[in-house]
Amino acid sequence: MSRKVMDEIRSEIQEHPLVLYMKGTKEAPQCGFSATMVEVLSSYSLPIKDINVLEDPEKWAAVKEFSEWPTIPQIYVGGEFIGGCDIVREMHAKGELEPVLRKATESKD
């Protein structure tokens, strides 16, 4: 790889407490799963760093390899891979998402 895409991903997820790799942007998601993810995460009123993989096919491939997770969207909280849409939705419903988000955003202050 000419570009160091893996390194770019590594710094993105370290730099921002909540990173969402998605299809489209948080203002205009291009896929139902990405839209659901934005909807769930927005309810926590935390800054979301959205990364549109449709505009960056190289990163799209790399992020799947990075997490060893085959689908988009994916979220990273505090530098750690949390999961895809189904997992995040389930954690949200069970009230398990808030403590994870809280912890990551507070430790960044």
Partner: protein, 87 residues
């Protein structure tokens, strides 16, 4: 496009004895909702469970299979209301 049976067979080959329900969400044969009930999920995190299902589908995910909504449960986690959905 991929047939629902092909998805079911791939998952069951990797998770013998699992109950797999496959629903075509759009009728187009490439957006599926899949529920897997397996004893093998006991003690596993959601991420681990999903990986166990994604692994046998690796070759078709993102190709013939565009979208997959996934639910994973152990037999103990299945509530009576869900059971009518299980084949």
């Amino acid at each position: 496009m991929i047939a629902p049976d092909e998805i079911r067979n791939k998952i069951q080959a990797a998770l013998p004895g699992s109950a797999v329900t496959v629903r075509d969400m759009t009728g187009g044969g490439d957006h599926y909702e899949v529920e897997v009930v397996s004893q093998a999920f006991a003690g596993m995190s959601a991420i681990q469970r999903h990986r166990m299902v994604y692994t046998p589908l690796k070759d078709v995910l993102g190709a013939a299979l565009h979208a997959l909504a996934l639910k994973t449960r152990t037999p103990d986690e299945v509530t009576p209301a869900d059971q009518e959905e299980t084949p």
